[in-house]
């Protein structure tokens, strides 16, 4: 703050004023450009007026540092207001010049000035627009057709841009957003339980353990209500009450019911809504859809993103596509772990390629490990299946109290139902009496790992805990029996009634569990274990969602901005659609306003040809490799390194080992991998090899990021930074920033840039769930 000064805005020589004249107070800051050592003064008017006679020239010497003297009746109010303005100004300049790291001038977050509640409206009023006639002259590429990419494509096309959409699946409807189960948050306050934009904003920032950008999160909360209106208008069949109005449910980490849902298939219904909006534009010819195409590089011309190189997954054709802007909506990189709840095809390639061409990668180590997934059953396993978080409302999580009992269960000598209440350790209820089984995802996951690492795991591999519905079945059953006037002491009857209630609430999940595990969870507790589910980290973007490559944007899970170090349930769908429907279509215009005279971009330019050749060379090298090991062999080893050494808890020693091991694995991959077939055909192993090659680079940066961040926050737990009780310990003094990595050749040589985070509307607090 000390470099910001107050001054009066004199508009004529000082001696021409009378002492009773009123002048506007302004803020000044001397900004020194690190590259050329030249400086300039940045000034900002505050709008607050002060009489010359009330102005204290020596304000910086008095203890309060108040520039307006008490001779002004409103001096207290004005001075306080000035302090607030100075704080906002500080935030603004910090984006131009992040003080701890002078090289970070590129990282301008472009957060608008003013009170947080007005920022988005003001920003929309002030950014440049492209006229409808000119939109017809502009092409936009969108990579990915999930909630973010699908909704962005549809809206951009509707506005008049010519959109080219790409997905690797055989239809845009199959993007992995479709698998989201629980619901979507919106601050509608339909339940009248005191919800508001501010509360949703607050919950999201707090849930993210104070590592997200305030202004972006506030905007997200603000547009959340529009999403629901929009989706209902599109015919998305949300769950309804008997009165015909929309129903809500509650999710972890919050105290209101703000989650809209469509049974356990909310993601599917929302994605099909976005898909239908796309179909309307495809029919009009405004979207050109490219199915079964994988983006393999981005093309820059004069520093701007101007196109992409793709491979047609059916015939192997390498194609150039040009546009005036490129939007990356390719999702997260959870498949780095090999086993995750992501789809088999989900990959990091699009985001990694733009990273290599100049887009900074932010907070790669922030990964969400979801506590309730079906445990791994053997080495053959290809992916993990999530059991919705909503189950923790009624399920109690436990392991046996003694190691002997745990061993007997693993050996199949006793069944979980043989253990009485006092032989069980309900460890979440024991450790966190206030929140119990409903602690946030990161806390629940770590607690499960701690028990299993201590030898209390309950399946063959020792990596599972119980999620037990017995208590809920009896509770609901008793209620039901009472209601029906039946005998509440008849245990069998009570359980039968209770199971019916559970079935009506979670029927489809119980059925799914039974199909996969072949055990009936109505009669024996479910086994669960944490699994990788979502990545909060991603490409660094500014308030306009533009990356550090001009003209290249990143939306949805592919960017980093809204969830900090931990995401709350039902917020991913909200963010994807907010970015795609309501944010990007506005902010992209500010950039494209310069391109109305550019005209079509030719794919015959040398930049495209060079990029095509490089892609082709890489493919030829992989196919020509006389190796002996399959791509999956490497992916599995990579997954194990990341899971064991950079998973739920991390320490310096193992992270350093991981970096070396990944480098060695990558070298081995290029020497010994075997990719069958040829380029000119449907060749899944080849497509996979190209994806795994990128994961092998990302993994190293991931470990490096985790190593640099020596604090524990959200999903990132550093063993060196914990309290005596083993709880995560954040270090706000040293780590209230976004780590944005610039590619420098080898992933672990990446250069760190810091975007300082400021919390002006929420107080930084320690999360406690005790």
């Amino acid at each position: 703050m000390n470099r910001i000064t107050y001054s009066l805005n004199y508009r004529k020589p000082k001696d021409e004023y009378n002492p009773s004249d009123e002048l506007v107070v302004c803020l000044r800051y001397f900004h020194k450009n690190s590259s050329n050592e030249k400086g300039k003064i940045i000034k900002k008017s505050t709008g607050i007026k002060c009489k010359l006679s009330d102005w204290d020239i020596d304000w910086h010497k008095n203890s309060d540092r108040f520039p307006i003297k008490d001779t002004d009746k409103l001096f207290l109010k004005k001075n306080r207001l000035l302090k607030v303005k100075a704080k906002e100004f500080k935030l603004f300049i910090s984006n131009i010049d992040s003080s701890p790291n002078k090289d970070s001038i590129k990282l301008c977050s472009k957060v608008p000035l003013g009170p947080i509640a007005d920022q988005w409206t003001n920003h929309k009023n002030n950014i440049r627009l492209v006229s409808p006639a000119n939109k017809r002259l502009i092409d936009v590429i969108v990579v990915g057709t999930g909630l973010a990419g699908g909704s962005a494509s549809a809206t951009l096309a509707e506005l008049g841009y010519n959109v080219k959409s790409f997905c690797f699946q055989d239809s845009p409807r199959r993007a992995h957003s479709i698998a989201a189960q629980g619901g979507i948050n919106a601050a509608k306050n339909y339940q009248g339980d005191g919800d508001s934009t501010y509360r949703l904003f607050y919950d999201t920032v707090k849930g993210g353990d104070y590592r997200s950008r305030e202004s972006n999160v506030y905007r997200l909360a603000e547009v959340s209500t529009n999403i629901i209106d929009q989706c209902v208008a599109q015919g998305v069949p949300f769950a309804r009450e008997y009165g015909g109005l929309l129903d809500n449910r509650s999710f972890g980490g919050v105290l209101v019911s703000r989650t809209f849902y469509a049974k356990g298939q909310t993601g599917q219904q929302l994605l099909l809504g976005a898909y239908s909006a796309m179909n309307r534009q495809i029919a009009r010819g405004k979207i050109k859809m490219y199915n079964r195409h994988e983006m393999l590089d981005i093309v820059k011309i004069d520093g701007k993103a101007r196109g992409i190189i793709t491979r047609n997954l059916i015939n192997g054709n390498i194609e150039s596509h040009s546009a005036h802007a490129v939007v990356i909506a390719s999702g997260g990189y959870g498949n780095l772990f090999f086993l995750s709840t992501n789809a088999m095809g989900s990959n990091v390639s699009a985001t990694w390629k733009i990273h290599k061409k100049g887009a900074f990668f932010a907070n790669p180590c922030f990964t969400q490990i979801h506590p309730t997934c079906i445990p791994v059953s053997g080495d053959h396993q290809s992916k993990l299946t999530l059991m919705s978080e909503s189950l923790r409302n009624d399920g109690r999580i436990w392991v046996p109290k003694t190691l002997e009992d745990a061993k007997s269960i693993r050996d199949g000598k006793i069944k979980p139902t043989d253990l009485s209440e006092n032989q069980r350790d309900y460890y979440l209820e024991r450790r966190y009496p206030a929140f119990g089984n409903l602690v946030p995802r990161d806390v629940a996951s770590r607690a499960a790992k701690e028990r299993c690492d201590s030898g209390y795991g309950v399946n063959k591999t020792g990596e599972a805990v119980y999620l037990d519905f017995e208590a809920a079945i009896i509770r609901y059953g008793t209620e039901k029996a009472h209601l029906k006037g039946l005998n509440e002491n008849d245990k069998e009857l009570v359980k039968k009634l209770g199971r019916e209630v559970i079935k009506s609430k979670y029927g489809n999940l119980f059925q799914m569990y039974e199909k996969i595990v072949d055990e009936n969870p109505y009669y024996t507790p479910m086994m669960i274990y944490p699994a990788v589910h979502y990545t909060m980290g991603g490409i660094w973007v500014d308030y306009n969602l533009m990356t550090t490559i001009p003209g290249c944007f990143a939306i949805g899970e592919a960017n980093f901005s809204d969830h900090g170090a931990n995401r709350l349930g039902a917020s991913a769908l909200m963010q994807g659609l907010a970015d795609g429907y309501f944010v990007l279509p506005y902010t992209i215009g500010d950039y494209l306003a310069d391109d109305i005279r550019t005209g079509p971009i030719s794919t015959d330019l040398p930049e495209f040809k060079e990029a095509e050749e490089l892609v082709m060379k890489k493919i030829k090298n992989l196919l020509g490799n006389q190796g002996s090991k399959t791509v999956d062999h490497y992916h599995k080893i990579l997954g194990k390194i990341i899971w064991n050494k950079c998973g739920m808890s991390r320490n310096e020693k193992e992270l350093k080992e991981a970096i070396v091991e990944i480098q060695e694995l990558r070298d081995d991959f290029y020497k010994n991998v075997f990719v069958p077939g040829k380029n000119e055909s449907f060749n899944e192993p080849l497509a996979k090899a190209l994806r795994v090659a990128d994961f092998l680079e990302l993994g190293e940066l991931f470990a490096k990021d985790a190593l640099e961040r020596t604090e524990s926050c959200g999903g990132h737990f550093r063993e060196e930074s914990q309290t005596q009780e083993g709880e995560a310990m954040r270090d706000d003094k040293n780590f209230t920033f976004v780590s944005a990595w610039e590619y420098k050749g080898i992933p672990s040589d990446a250069k760190l840039h810091k975007e300082q985070l400021f919390y002006n509307n929420i107080e930084l607090k320690t999360r406690s769930y005790k």
Binding site: I178, A179, K188, N226, G244, Y275, I314
Partner: protein, 248 residues
């Protein structure tokens, strides 16, 4: 478990395909069908044989990518599951399993078990949407109350995953269940009513142009549908179509 797999191999759309037999051992009953195929492919690749191509993505029964015709049934012997959710415990040691692609004239084979289902997308382009702009300037969501029973029925129809099991199963290769699911979803909601006439006419027209067959009410599609989409939807679509033809 030890199994014999008889798998359809076809290099590309233009070449002739045939059934090829493979032996596979050490199959765990806890594997999903696709995980068993992964193991087979790893073995084939090590032997220098081109792996079997098949579509798959989410592996939790919702994306609709997987499309195998197993022992003469779309998605295999289990009910209300897709191939990715089918587990090997449904088979016995020593079984011979036939694996073919979803067959229909409208689903040309791309390679092995991978088929081209873009005809489904084109039917959706013809009218599978409500023409509202996505600008967010819509009315409040609760200003359109919808009877719960209708909302639930619309939801049930909307759960179609577009896998194509109905077409592959139907002796006429009819896509009526798929098309009617979308028509029904919108016909049951007030938001969809405005364009109901054009929607049903255009979607049915596109369906016919693609070359899908007619419905003769055998009901096989309903049985094989992994999401349990009801035959009622076809009846509803027929009613909508007749209504629309009178209006036009």
């Amino acid at each position: 478990m030890q199994l014999t797999l008889k798998i359809w191999r076809q290099e590309n759309a233009d070449s002739k395909g045939k059934i090829v037999s493979y032996e596979i051992s050490d199959v765990s009953p806890d594997m999903s069908f696709l995980e068993m195929m992964d193991v087979l492919n790893e073995e084939l690749m090590i032997k220098g044989i081109d792996p079997v191509a098949f579509d798959h993505d989410c592996r939790e029964g919702i994306c609709g990518s997987c499309s195998m015709f197993i022992n003469g049934e779309a998605h295999g012997p289990d009910r209300y599951v897709t191939t990715c959710q089918l587990h090997m415990r449904k088979f016995k040691d020593g079984d011979t399993i036939y694996v073919e692609p979803f067959r229909a004239k409208t689903f040309p084979v791309i390679k092995d078990l991978v088929v081209d289902r873009t005809a489904f997308d084109r039917i959706q382009h013809a009218g599978g949407f409500i023409s509202v702009n996505t600008s967010g300037n819509t009315q409040d969501a609760n200003s359109i109350p919808i009877e719960k029973a209708n909302a639930d029925k619309a939801f049930d129809a909307a759960t179609c995953i577009g896998c194509g099991a109905c077409v592959a199963t139907c002796k006429n290769s009819s896509a009526m269940l798929f098309v009617s699911a979308k028509v029904s979803q919108f016909a049951l909601l007030p938001q969809g009513e405005v364009e109901a006439t054009d929607r049903v006419i255009n979607m049915v027209k596109q369906m016919d142009e693609e070359g899908f067959g007619n419905c003769t009410n055998t009901g096989a599609c309903q049985v094989e549908c992994p999401k349990g989409i009801s035959l009622d939807n076809i009846a509803r679509m027929n009613r909508e179509l007749v209504k629309a033809q009178f209006k036009k």
